[in-house]
């Protein structure tokens, strides 16, 4: 338990130990839910306000709306204009293995989220199993707005303290097992990103962090961007969000390690 009596300089333990202390407020824009009963004529309206074209155009063979979490920047414009059809949910969308599975058939399926510490402990076990030592991560900013960097930095603060799960950030790709990449991969960073990837020893794990890294996000695919990390280097896990919160980042790392583990078995 936290000892709050000693104050900030009293070596109190601030690190989260339970779910309650990492409470997600109701107004957090984490995922999107649809109420198809009130879809009449509103679908096109919702599609038309989406700034990143994450709501996919209606097709006859789908009865549901389709949302591409790889593009969604959680601006909430669609829910504002069609409040009955679209609801923003505070539960964060979960990381996935393939770019295609970010396009979700929307129904009631909202991912369940274990507590931050449970996720971390599971991760620690798997890292131990896979490497027999700790996990080394290299972060590369391939042209992000620095929002994702703020959240990745937060993973290292005493509250999230990712090092207790045997994960640490290293300064060279040559020491890294895993590459966390943010940004739409600007054209100017393309070569540097490739060279960073090449410098890593195998097995190489790559995680695309945030909507920009997944698809180009709001910056899209233009003269100066490549439209997502996947167009530059192979990606193992995609983490949606703009920016993803620290819990989701941890879930993404867990997914990536779990996947590599199952491949090695």
């Amino acid at each position: 338990m936290k000892d709050k009596t000693k104050g900030i300089m009293g070596n109190s333990i601030e690190t989260v130990r339970d779910t309650d202390s990492l409470f997600i407020p109701d107004n957090y824009r984490g995922s999107i839910a649809f109420n198809m009963e009130s879809a009449n004529g509103k679908r096109e309206l919702a599609e038309s306000v989406c700034p990143t074209k994450a709501l996919l155009p209606f097709k006859e063979n789908y009865s549901d709306l389709l949302l591409d979490y790889g593009k969604c920047i959680m601006c909430g414009y669609c829910a504002e204009i069609t409040p009955k059809l679209i609801k923003i949910n505070s539960k964060p969308a979960s990381p996935v293995n393939t770019r295609a599975s970010m396009i979700e058939r929307l129904g009631p399926q909202i991912p369940s989220l274990a507590s931050y510490e449970q996720t971390g402990n599971e991760l620690r076990g798997k890292i131990q199993e896979l490497f027999g030592r700790s996990l080394a991560i290299r972060e590369v900013d391939a042209g992000s707005c620095n929002g994702c960097e703020v959240e990745i930095t937060a993973l290292n603060n005493p509250i999230y303290d990712i090092e207790r799960f045997g994960i640490h950030f290293v300064s060279s790709p040559r020491h890294a097992d895993l590459l966390l990449v943010t940004g739409p991969a600007s054209k100017n960073m393309e070569v540097a990103l490739k060279r960073t990837y090449d410098a890593m020893p195998g097995p190489k794990i790559v995680i695309a962090v945030g909507a920009c890294a997944c698809s180009g996000g709001i910056f899209g695919d233009t003269y100066s961007t490549t439209g997502g990390i996947g167009n530059v280097i192979p990606v193992d896990v995609y983490i949606p969000g703009c920016p993803p919160r620290p819990q989701t980042l941890l879930c993404g790392i867990l997914l990536a390690i779990g996947r590599t583990l199952s491949h090695t078995k």
């Binding site: 104050g7 900030i8 300089m9 601030e14 997600i24 407020p25 107004n27 957090y28 824009r29 306000v49 700034p51 959680m74 601006c75 909430g76 972060e139 590369v140 900013d141 391939a142 042209g143 992000s144 707005c145 620095n146 929002g147 994702c148 960097e149 703020v150 959240e151 990745i152 930095t153 937060a154 290292n156 603060n157 005493p158 509250i159 999230y160 950030f169 300064s171 060279s172 790709p173 940004g183 739409p184 600007s186 054209k187 100017n188 960073m189 070569v191 540097a192 960073t196 996000g217 709001i218 910056f219 899209g220 695919d221 233009t222 003269y223 100066s224 961007t225 703009c242 920016p243 919160r245």
Partner: protein
């Protein structure tokens, strides 16, 4: 805004340059002098800059071949000290695609001219440095901001050599650093020339995070470009979106409700507090004192959780909208803000007095990265960096916007005291540390004051139809300094041109001057104490 001053400058300029000025236009606190000939730009700009005592706010180039007769240049100068005026010198570049450089008289203009050369293909005659900024390996002859260039054009990569300044002599070595850095930071390249450990020269090469934001905005709806403005630099989302909204509101003549103005201030100051604390934590890390950093990061996390419970985003995305704000602050929220910031501030004071008692920490900061005041003035440095070097600039007072009030009337004694305080600031990392600490406290007080939201209304409505080709300047003070956005509306409420100039663009050049008396291991500390955004610079 002060109409007396507006008329004064108008008459003075008209009298002096009667034969050179074609037209004068006014737009709120902006006064535009439209020149007959682009070759008169140096003369008039120099007068506005040195005789009228203004600061260069930005230089805007637009491709108006379709509506006028060429590329139009707008030199924007801000007049501070309670006058709150922006003077525009406007000129059309002729068919020759050359324009006279003003960089030798106004050094701050050099980077803008390079930018114009690269993005529009207009050559500044007399500017000695026209190397590329953001189009690193693009083929020659590509000018993205020209209207004829299409946003989605994919061009082949072409090897191009970038000429760094070469320092020669016995024992001089070069250290290249980046674009991928050792820490969790943004991309940029630094080229050190060193003699032993001493830095002889430092050159930065940026542009790695160039995402074509200005060009992209031209294809967007007004509402969508607001989201883009928030993502110019993720941690300055409120400052940038505020500047963007104010520009659009000024063009369409909307006045937002008082409550919305105050809410913008509250979020703007909350943003300043969490970022200043983050920078102070970073300074502590780079000075090799992890304990102080860890404590400060705890406070930052508490503030980010507060951000989230108010706005639904930990970095305050989605706060603003054109015509008001998107999220209201209820009475319950206000109490939460006041109590959270209250406890954070109490803890903050404890941590700061602890840090200040550590001689190894203070010694590390003292004299590191000292910025000469003259260099800061010439390069037009803004924000904390300028204030720590004794230059009293702050957009919140100089050009009051949203709920900010003009600086209260000061007695002669207070004015002198303020001047003495400014004189004492030495422009080193310690001065920047102390200015940030002071601003955290001021901002906390300001938030509390502004939360007295007894008036109603957060939104007045969106502009229906805006007259095409009207333009306006929007500005705000981010935690890094003055942010200036200029928008020209096109047909059917589209964006014709969106020129963004963040504080980082003004402050990056100073880093080469700041490290000249330092050794290489001091560089991370100096860099962090300047707190520059790469994304905000590269766009």
């Amino acid at each position: 805004m002060n109409t007396i001053y507006l008329d004064k400058y108008k008459n003075e300029m008209l009298e002096k340059f009667a034969d050179k000025i074609d037209k004068v236009e006014e737009n709120g606190n902006e006064i535009h002098f439209i020149l007959k000939d682009v070759n008169d730009v140096p003369l008039t700009c120099n007068h506005v800059y040195s005789i009228l005592g203004t600061r260069l706010a930005t230089i805007i180039c637009t491709d108006e071949l379709g509506i006028k007769n060429g590329f139009v240049l707008r030199y924007v100068f801000g007049k501070e000290n309670r006058e709150d005026i922006f003077i525009f010198i406007t000129a059309v570049v002729s068919q020759s695609l050359f324009f006279p450089s003003i960089a030798l008289q106004i050094p701050a203009a050099a980077l803008y001219e390079r930018e114009i050369k690269e993005m529009f293909g207009l050559t500044p005659t007399g500017n000695p440095d026209t190397r590329s900024l953001v189009l690193h390996e693009f083929p020659e002859g590509i000018f993205p901001l020209r209207k004829e260039f299409l946003l989605k054009t994919k061009v082949a990569r072409q090897q191009r050599q970038y000429q760094f300044l070469k320092v020669e002599g016995d024992g001089i070595c070069e250290i290249p650093v980046g674009p991928v850095h050792a820490g969790i930071i943004e991309p940029g390249h630094f080229r050190f020339s060193v003699l032993g450990e001493n830095i002889i020269n430092l050159e930065t090469r940026l542009g790695y995070a160039h995402k074509g934001i200005e060009k992209l905005a031209e294809s967007m709806k007004l509402d969508d470009a607001l989201l883009l403005a928030e993502r110019i630099s993720g941690d300055e989302s409120v400052a940038n979106s505020t500047a963007y909204c104010q520009a659009v509101e000024k063009i369409s003549g909307i006045r937002i409700p008082k409550r919305a103005e105050n809410i913008r201030v509250v979020f703007g100051e909350m943003e300043r507090i969490y970022n200043h604390i983050s920078t102070l934590a970073g300074i502590s890390t780079d000075a090799g004192f992890a304990f102080g950093a860890a404590r400060l990061y705890i406070l930052k996390e508490r503030l980010m959780q507060l951000n989230e419970s108010l706005s639904g985003s930990r970095i305050l995305f989605g706060v603003n909208r054109i015509g008001g704000v998107r999220c209201d602050i209820s009475a319950q929220d206000s109490r939460l803000v006041i109590s959270t910031i209250g406890t954070v501030l109490r803890d903050f004071d404890k941590i700061i007095s602890f840090l200040k008692a550590k001689s190894s920490f203070m010694d590390r900061l003292k004299d590191a990265g000292r910025i000469p005041r003259k260099a800061a003035q010439d390069l037009g440095v803004v924000g904390v960096v300028a204030r720590a070097a004794g230059i009293d600039v702050d957009t919140r007072h100089d050009h009051p916007y949203a709920g900010y009030l003009p600086r209260n009337h000061r007695t002669p004694q207070q004015i002198i005291e303020d001047q003495i305080e400014m004189e004492k600031r030495s422009g080193d990392a310690l001065a920047r540390f102390e200015v940030r600490v002071r601003e955290v406290r001021n901002s906390a007080a300001m938030v509390e004051e502004m939360l007295d939201l007894d008036c109603d209304g957060t939104f007045t409505g969106m502009p229906e139809k805006i007259t095409p080709y009207r333009s306006a300047l929007g500005y705000s003070e981010s935690h890094r300094g003055q942010t200036v956005h200029w928008i020209m509306i096109g047909k059917d409420n589209s964006i014709f041109r969106y020129k963004i100039r963040t504080a980082s663009f003004c402050n990056w050049p100073i880093i080469g001057h700041a490290v000249l008396k330092d050794i290489v291991p001091d560089f991370p500390l100096v860099n962090k104490s300047l707190d520059l955004s790469y994304s905000g610079n590269d766009l």
